[in-house]
Structure formats: C-alpha cells, structure tokens
C-alpha cells in the first residue's frame, strides 16, 4: 500500500494548466523529493494533495484510503500532514501548545466529553501531552518548550512546524521548502531530521530547491516541469536523465557557467 498516490491529476485555473495528468506514487518509509524549476507546479501539487485546492480531475489517495475528502482536515485524518512554505504557526501560543494542538486534533474526543472531562478525555489528554513532548524532543526543541512560537528564531519556527505536523502521527509528511533560509550546517541537521522521520515510520514528500540537500537525502525523486512529471527515479537516475538536465539542471548549469 502506498503512502500517497495521485492518478491522472489535473489542475487548471481558467486557461492555465498548473498540473496535467500527474501520476505520483510515494511509497512508505521513503523520502521522496519533488523538484522542478520555479512555476513547475510543485506547490500546486502539494496543495491538491493536502486538500487545500480542489483538483480539476484525477484522484489523490492517502494511506490507501480513497474516502471522499473535501477539506484539508479530511485529508489530514487520512494520515497526511504538512508544513507551509510561509510558516503558519500559532504565533501567540507556546511551543508546547502548538504541538499539543497537533497531537490532540485527531484523538476523537468530542466537545461534550472534553467539557465534562470524562476519564477517556483525560486519558487522551495525557497521551496527547506525551506525544507532543516526544515530538518536541524529536526535532530538538526541548529547551524552548515554554517559549512563545512567534518569538523563536526563524529556523526553530520551521522545526516547530515539523514537530506539530509529526504530532498528528502521519503516514506521509509533506515538507514545503523546509530548508529555505537555512545555512549549510542547519541544512545538514535538517537532512538528518528528515532521515529520522523516515526511519520513524512516515513517508516524506519533500519540495526543496537546494539540489545538494535533495540529492543527499532523497530515496526517490520526481521532476515536475510545466505541470508535467518528466522523470522519476533514484537521485543518480534523475541526475543523468537528459530531459531533466534540459529542463532543470541544464538550465542551472548553463547559468553557473555564464
């Protein structure tokens, strides 16, 4: 069973085709990178997969569940979590509160049980707190647990978003340019973290511009160009694919020479 699957996914805005017939398969326990030049449709694809944008046609399957998902929360409940290119933290809340919201979002405790504080609600609350603390520790923010999210340095805000997404215990995690604004050392730490997320049991779909980072960390790479998937394979296969070199790396290389 695949963690994430798109079949014949097409997205059009009026006359503009953002995605055309995209068949993407993200296998479990895999770091799958999605690359492509600016405007290739990477973020569009993430938005369709996470339910934020409705596809014009085609299907998205998360964790083998094809339940009709109409909102991002439905997709999240099928086991998909994501981070945002422009951070979407609960900026006034503490680190722990941010992650706790993720940990208890899908624990099935209804409003009434929550208000009454039933034994089950209290048990679920304790479990959520433990899961939140564990996720905070996992990304390395244990020292900042009580800090207000909005006051954290930028890099730590990115880590916090990852922790919050992980706290939902996803089958697949979408990371939208997690390394933006990072220095090389931080990128190295990020690569280690992404590997640790995979080894923990979640598949990762990674959108990232930094080629060395992608080549170093990805198990599989899909290349998107003008809304079409033009290649898929291991980093070595993709790097040597003439179509990719033309569309992407080639252009970069030429720029580098010029």
């Amino acid at each position: 069973m695949n963690a994430l699957e798109t079949r014949a996914l097409t997205l059009r805005y009026g006359g503009v085709t953002a995605l055309e017939d995209v068949d993407l398969t993200v296998r479990p326990h895999t770091i799958h990178a999605l690359i492509g030049p600016n405007g290739a449709g990477k973020t569009s694809l993430l938005n369709v997969c996470s339910g934020a944008t409705a596809a014009t046609s085609g299907t998205v399957t998360v964790g083998g569940r094809t339940r009709r998902a109409r909102r991002p929360s439905d997709v999240a409940r099928c086991g998909l979590a994501r981070t945002f290119q422009n951070l979407q933290l609960f900026a006034e809340a503490t680190v722990l509160e941010n992650v706790l919201v993720g940990a208890e979002a899908q624990n099935g405790v209804g409003p009434l049980a929550s208000m009454l504080g039933t034994p089950r609600a209290r048990r679920a609350g304790r479990a959520a707190r433990e899961a939140a603390l564990e996720a905070i520790e996992f990304v390395g923010l244990a020292g900042e647990r009580e800090h207000v999210a909005g006051a954290l340095p930028y890099g730590k805000q990115r880590l916090l978003e990852i922790a919050r997404a992980l706290a939902t215990d996803p089958a697949v995690l979408l990371l939208d340019e997690p390394g933006a604004g990072f220095n090389p050392q931080e990128k190295q730490q990020l690569a280690d973290l992404v590997r640790a997320i995979r080894d923990r049991g979640a598949a990762v779909l990674l959108v990232e511009h930094d080629m060395p980072l992608v080549m170093g960390v990805a198990d599989r790479i899909s290349v998107l160009d003008f809304g079409h998937l033009i290649a898929e394979g291991t980093p070595a296969e993709v790097a040597n694919d003439p179509a990719v070199v033309d569309a992407y790396l080639g252009a970069d290389a030429t720029e580098g020479v010029a």
Binding site: F84, L89, F90, A151
Partner: protein
Amino acid sequence: MNSLLKGSGLVAVLAVAIVAPLVVTSRYDLGVLQLALINALLVLGFNYTVGFTRRLSLGHVGFFAIGAYASALLTTKHDVSPLLAMLAGVLVASVAALVVSVLTNGLHAHYLTLATLGFGVIVQVVATNWIDVTGGSNGVVGIPVPTAFGIELAEPEQQYYLALVVLAIGAALMARFRATKLGRQASALRQSERAAESLGIRTDRLKTLTLVLSAAYGAVAGSLYAHTYGYVAPDVFSFALMLTVLAMLVVGGPGTIAGPILGAVILTYLPEMARVGDKYWQLIYGVLLFVMVLWAPKGLAGLASSALSLVRRPRGRRAARPTTEAVTG
C-alpha cells in the same frame, strides 16, 4: 502564586457583586446593576465567536432577541413556566445559529460580518412586522417575573442574584471551554485557519460550535431581560445595541473571561452617568472607546495582566524573550 492571585481576585469580585445590592439604595441604581449583569452575560456569549475564534459575527443581538421573545410569548400567551420558556428560547436560538453557521462558515472578514449582520436585521424586522405573533412595534407587555425552584422572584434584589448566579455559571463554563482542547482549537483557528485545518481540526464544526454556544448565552440573557423588565419590543434589539456589545467586548478584553464582564459593567454605567450626570461624561465615554481601541487592543483585561506581570515578575514563564543565538540564513 499567579493562580493564588487570580483566586483572591475572583473572591474579591464575587464579594463586591454579592454585597452591591445591599449597598445600593435607589431602585434606579439597582436596575442599572441588573442591566449590567444581563449585558455581561450577553457579551460573554459574544466572546465565544469574536473573542476566541476572532470571527466577527454581528448577529448576536438577534439571538438575544430570540431568547427574549421566546420567554415573553411563551409565558404571556401559552402559560409556559419561565424556566421552560428560557430553554425553548435557547433551543430556537441554537437552531438559528446552526443555520446561520452552515450558511456563513465559508465566509471571512467583512463578508462574514455583513452576512451575520443581516441575520440580526432579519430578526428585528420579523419582530416588528409579524404583528399577530409578536405584537409588532408595541412589543409584548406583562411578562411575569422569573421563578427559581418554583419561587417567584418579584423583588429586584432576588432577580439580581438570579442573574448573578446565571452569569457565574456562564463564566465557569467558559473557563472550562478555554482550558480544554476546545479552547486551544478555537485559539488555533484564530491564529491560522490553514494550519488548524491541516492538522485535522474540523474548523467548520468548530465555528458552528462556538456560534451555537454564543447564541445560547445570548438567548439566556434575552430571557433574563424579558423577565426582569416585563416588557420587550423590537427597538431594544437594534444595531446600536450590537455596536454597544462589540464595544463592551473590545474595551473589556476579547478572549478573556474577566474582560467581557468588566467591559459590560463599565459600558453599562458610563452612558447612565452621561444621561443623568455631567455632560462631560459623554465626552469621556467617546474618548475612552477611542483610546482603548488605539492603545489597548487587548482591552482592560489585557492592560491589567501586563501591569501585573510588569510589577510582579519581569521574566514571566511565557515572557517572549528572543534568544540571543540568532539563526543566520
């Protein structure tokens, strides 16, 4: 330490509230006190939507009107007991909130505000024009005094204490809401709806829940109003009242529990002073609104808590101290 301070503050406020009717001598002043409590309950309900989720839903006075008319009509025309009439009002207001919510959950900002404002207008128009049932602009008179456990509460002091008990229950429920998962989710929705959805929070249901809760508080406040004054008419439930309720929340401190109550009490009193007292009170009233919005966007409750944390512990648990090791990109 902090909770001890809060606890003693709560006891002090309750003590003042309990003693107030004994100190106040004139019937008129007691009437203002009663109105302050009813307003406080109304504003507390408004806090669920505008305070917690920061969705500016301006139909709140419509729910207040539904509660008031349900009590007025059921007790005068159908001989229903005040308690049952109040529950009926809560039910009708909740169903109305459910419908409004389903229709407006997808709206944001000024679209939401205008659509919900429309609901308030509709309620007032129905109350004015459905003359056979509501008595039109003449309203409904002769509404009986409230009862509690079968005892008629004819004295204003008794009605005051009834309102105080109801308000205390409302505040306690809200404190519970805020301390649980629901409160955290409402706060999450306020800060980033996209993120809340992406985590699996059903934000549409959360919006509905908060609107229904706010409508229920509004309806209870309306029922108390009807039984306290014995009279309801459409012009009570005006857009001007909606703006006053909004001002009470903003001045008091949206998203807090003490704030809406404080704001309601103060803004119930100020206009009364402006009416009977010095003409400058009106000016003070206007300037206060202006100053609060510009320089104290978190309201009186926000001012109080920042003053407290300044005095007591400059480095609070949640103090936002930016760490020195900056991350360079």
